[in-house]
């Protein structure tokens, strides 16, 4: 397996290196779909110059190629671990006769699972979205790398490292906070601690993990304070994320709405919009408490849809997980529609941007319409996978050829 992975890495690095040296790099790094005010390379350079640190440690393309490589490798190893886990659990379930007899075809075979980690790495490295993001030197790649490492450490069972990396990810962009719930559920499952509020062992571990997480968060924040000598960075980073003052168009849902709105509703609507990211954690955690890894996938997808400054790099991270759920394919209902919508939107973004900004003949409504459609496609995709996952689990316990159940749960949760 090492050879194809190496080959894949070489191909991916070559594509990026070629693009870095072509004239396209400058064009890509100016695209609003690819960079947001939070992760634009230009702003990193500005920030470093302001800090007067001299030469930045990660200027130059090699750094960005390496981060992408690390992300892919971490995802590869995590999915490998996860697959072993899944297979082991499936064996136990079969031995204890928990699955119904007629769902043999739903079982996963090692042969089918063999290439999945490689496909996951390939989906991440060769995804045009990742490549664009990397060539634009967006720091989104760095966020993705930390989240991927966090997933890897979690799946390997190292609670301390997982807590530290989760704190790092939270420190970067706040939203990964919601990944606390799936990570905790995973550890509880791994240590055979039932999720029961009356059990002291549950509370003991929860507090332990929360302490690791909060502790490292405090340490990191404190370090930044000592480095900068003031607390100014808190409002200018997290305030910037929460109150959305920069309304540069992007692929997210915020900018248009906040540009149109009366100023005195701003606080109310920023709460309404921001709550989307955090709110779904509760119902999803309850529904998926047996399947924390799938919950991680759902959470990452929700973050990338509802965050205030999303870019295509965020989309690429959760799309990398899609091969891991390839066994759900037979239960997906809208995959044709969704792929058409996502494909068409990706092509229409630059076209409508051109018509709006350069030709002056279209306006922001055209661009926002495509943004809405793109997010609609993403939500449909996530909801579809959620539905398919639940349906497969249902079939595993209740048999495949029962009367068909419609997907009310799936649509209820995600509107």
């Amino acid at each position: 397996m090492a050879a194809p992975l190496t080959l894949l890495l070489i191909v991916a690095v070559t594509i990026r290196a070629v693009l870095f040296r072509s004239s396209l790099a400058e064009l890509i790094s100016a695209r609003v779909e690819v960079v947001s005010p939070l992760n634009a390379w230009k702003r990193v350079v500005e920030g470093l110059a302001l800090l007067d640190l001299g030469v930045s440690p990660y200027s130059g393309d090699v750094f960005h190629e390496v981060t992408d490589g690390i992300t892919a490798l971490a995802l590869y190893l995590s999915i490998q671990t996860y697959n072993k886990d899944v297979f082991r659990k499936q064996k136990y379930a079969l031995e204890s006769d928990r699955y119904s007899a007629d769902c043999l075809e739903l079982l996963r075979s090692p042969k089918e699972m063999f290439y999945i980690p490689l496909k996951v790495a390939m989906f991440y490295l060769l995804n045009p979205f990742t490549i664009l993001s990397c060539v634009a030197k967006s720091t989104c790649g760095l966020n993705n790398a930390i989240i991927a490492l966090f997933i890897f450490c979690t799946l390997k069972g190292s609670a301390l490292l997982s807590g530290i990396l989760l704190a790092l990810a939270t420190y970067q962009s706040i939203y990964p906070l919601t990944l606390f719930a799936p990570a905790l559920l995973f550890f509880l499952q791994r240590l055979y601690i039932p999720v029961n509020l009356r059990r002291s062992s549950f509370w003991f571990f929860t507090l332990q993990y929360a302490f690791m997480y909060v502790g490292s968060l405090v340490v990191i924040t404190g370090l930044s304070f000592f480095l900068l000598g003031s607390w100014d960075f808190i409002p200018s980073v997290y305030g910037f994320i929460f109150s959305v003052p920069d309304l540069t168009p992007n692929i997210g849902l915020f900018w248009y709405f906040f540009a149109e709105m009366f100023e005195h509703f701003r606080l109310f609507f920023s709460c309404v919009f921001q709550i989307n990211v955090f709110f779904y954690t509760i119902p999803l955690s309850i529904k998926l408490k047996e399947h924390p890894v799938f919950l991680i996938f759902m959470q990452i997808a929700i973050i990338s849809i509802f965050k205030s400054y999303p870019t295509v790099g965020d989309v690429a991270l959760y799309m990398a997980f899609l091969p891991a759920w390839s066994h759900l394919y037979r239960f997906l209902r809208n995959i044709f529609l969704v792929s058409c919508v996502l494909l068409a939107c990706s092509a229409l973004f630059p076209v409508l941007w051109h018509l709006w900004i350069y030709a002056g003949s279209a306006n922001s409504n055209f661009y926002y319409a495509i943004t809405l459609l793109f997010n609609f496609g993403q939500i449909l995709l996530v909801a579809d996978y959620f539905y398919a996952y639940l349906r497969r689990e249902h079939h595993l316990t209740h048999g495949l050829y029962l009367k068909k159940k419609d997907g009310t749960e799936a649509t209820l949760v995600l509107k």
Partner: protein, 611 residues
């Protein structure tokens, strides 16, 4: 969402769509064509109206009276032009300075990628002369442009002279709130391009041009004037610009309003307006006018000097004087008054023209079809591609779902499927890249080995690569994967259909006419293609033949029908002009056709030779 989540209703819908797929597609196609032709029918269109308040309600009185002087200036200009054997730069500078303008010149040169045989030029060297009338009443942050080309021979003398006369008259008025730039450009579009690039500090098309020493504010609007006779019978308005971009409809409304006010006959596409919309002739006339607009817009070139301004977000139009054998004549004073009125109304603008439509078609000057009305015609054609794709998807998915043996069986046919689809896609696109790059780069070699001129070499190389592309991909494909499967070509067709749908959709958004014309010819063939189809039909509906048909239809519509051989020569010159437009002004039609549409068509061509 109910439809998307309820499995029974979904099944019923997909069942209906797959069972009735062919009839629905045929109905959609016919409905699309009928809808489009219906757009020219007057009751279905809207009357034009002025949306911009600043231009609508204000009263303007035109007082320009020196038409006679302009005509004598034209003679003087003609004499100096003959003497200088080109643009009489010194005379123009002196004439503008004596009228109180700040005068500047800009010299430029451009080597064309290959000789332009229509205009007989290769190494172009020229000078633009422009004078700025500073606004007395406002900070000089905004400007208007009036331009007249200095053309070789006898043409456009009156335009330059009228420009100078207007400058003299405008200089004495006190109400100007915007700077007015009077530009006389040499070598028509090349001069305009050089001037615009100099003005905006951009260099996108490898011009070698001097920088501009004098500037006014940001340009709000531009008018280009073409006038070659002392009296005219009608004025023609030209709107189609680079890449099919159009100026704001209010500019056309403004022109129409002043023509009405001053009693000047006005035409669009050279066609007068008729009032008998309820007769067959009336409808045909409107349809012809609209078709001409569609054809002109689709070819993506700039049909007057104004077309290049549009790219810089400047609303611009060309006004062209036409002298035919009608009795009713208009003199230079009236044309001057018309321009004066238009410039004064533009001077009143408080912000850029944005109120009215940017996407429209004009069946006559007083009627327009907006984007909301014409897009359904394209949508009906594009939805065929999606319906066919859905049909294929259902057919491809059905056996996989029925297989009970599990995933291993389903995996087997799909993994070679990826490779068999990817190979033709890559080969088609490489052919497209060759079609885009080779003609211009290989011209020297072709001229050495064959007895042809450079221009012929470029065009013939393009045609040769185009034809070679027909032979190349399916041979290599067969070598690579041996016997093609039924599954294989269906997957390829599905990919190509979605690709074409996205491609045509994007094209139609930027340039509706181009997207629509391509859809009319490509959709029926691509929707119905199977390996059993005749290759001849496929070739007859290929992009190159589409261009050929358009040439004949265009000639028919401008009432200058051509024979087959003349049509062929025109076709060749259209190709060379398309390549030149891309190199000189950055027109996107040639790269679009070579890099995307042609490869996409080749993917369908591949299916023909699948077995």
């Amino acid at each position: 969402m109910g439809l998307l989540s309820d499995p029974n209703r979904r099944k019923a819908l997909t069942g209906l769509l797959t069972r009735l797929n062919t009839p629905i597609c045929i109905v959609c196609y016919l409905a699309g064509i009928v809808w489009f032709m219906g757009l020219a029918f007057e009751p279905f269109t809207l009357r034009t109206y002025m949306s911009e308040n600043a231009m609508g309600s204000t009263m303007v009185e035109e007082r320009f009276s020196s038409g006679e002087r302009a005509l004598s200036l034209a003679k003087e200009f003609d004499a100096h032009k003959r003497k200088a054997g080109g643009m009489p730069v010194e005379w123009l500078v002196k004439a503008m300075q004596s009228r109180g303008l700040e005068v500047f010149t800009q010299s430029f040169s451009r080597k064309l990628p290959f000789p332009d045989e229509n205009k007989e030029r290769y190494m172009v060297r020229g000078t633009n002369v422009y004078g700025i009338l500073r606004a007395p009443r406002a900070p000089r942050t905004e400007a208007l442009v009036i331009t007249a080309p200095c053309s070789p021979g006898n043409t456009n003398n009156q335009a330059v002279a009228l420009l100078l006369a207007l400058a003299q008259y405008f200089r004495n008025q006190i109400y100007w709130a915007k700077d007015i730039i009077f530009l006389v450009n040499e070598h028509d579009l090349i001069g305009t391009q050089a001037w615009l690039e100099g003005y905006h500090h951009t260099n996108i098309t490898e011009y070698i041009s001097g920088s501009l020493r004098g500037r006014a504010g940001s340009i709000q609007a531009a008018l280009s004037l073409e006038l070659s006779s002392d009296v005219i019978t009608s004025l023609d308005l030209v709107l189609e610009g680079l890449n099919g971009q159009l100026p704001n409809l209010d500019l056309a409304n403004l022109f129409y309003a002043f023509c009405q006010k001053l009693g000047v006959l006005c035409t669009i596409q050279g066609k007068l307006q008729r009032n008998d919309w309820d007769t067959a002739e009336g409808y045909t006339h409107a349809a012809q006018t609209m078709m001409l607009m569609v054809l002109k817009q689709a070819c993506g070139r700039s049909w007057g000097d104004h077309g290049l301004f549009l790219r810089y977000h400047i609303e611009a139009a060309s006004v062209r004087g036409i002298n035919s054998f009608r009795h009713y004549k208009t003199d230079a004073t009236t044309i001057g008054r018309l321009l004066e009125g238009m410039v004064r109304k533009l001077n009143n603008l408080l912000e850029r023209l944005h109120q009215s439509y940017f996407f429209y078609l004009l069946p006559s000057l007083s009627r327009f079809v907006s984007i909301g009305y014409y897009m359904p015609a394209f949508g009906l054609l594009a939805v065929i591609l999606l319906l066919r794709a859905l049909d294929l998807w259902v057919h491809l998915g059905a056996p996989a779902l029925a297989a009970v043996d599990g995933v291993t069986e389903a995996e087997q046919p799909s993994s070679p499927g990826v490779l068999t689809v990817l190979t033709p896609v890559v080969i088609s696109h490489l052919t497209g890249v060759a079609l885009y790059l080779l003609p211009v780069h290989l011209q020297e070699m072709a001229v050495e080995h064959f007895p042809v001129s450079e221009t012929e070499a470029v065009v013939l190389t393009a045609i040769a690569i185009y034809t070679a592309g027909l032979a190349l991909p399916h041979n290599t494909q067969r070598l690579l994967s041996g016997e093609g499967t039924e599954q294989g070509w269906k997957v390829l067709k599905l990919t190509a259909l979605l690709y074409l749908a996205v491609l045509l959709g994007c094209t139609a958004l930027i340039n509706f006419s181009l997207g629509f014309i391509l859809a009319v010819t490509l959709v029926p063939i691509t929707a119905s293609i199977t390996p059993a189809l005749y290759a001849v039909v496929m070739v007859l509906l290929s992009p190159a033949f589409t261009i050929l048909y358009c040439v004949f239809i265009y000639q028919e519509l401008i009432e200058a029908p051509v024979s087959v051989s003349e049509g062929w020569m025109l076709f060749l010159s259209v190709i060379s002009q398309g390549i030149l437009d891309h190199a000189l002004y950055g027109s996107l039609v040639y790269p679009l056709l070579a890099l995307f549409i042609y490869p996409c068509w080749l993917m369908f061509w591949n299916i023909l030779f699948w077995n």
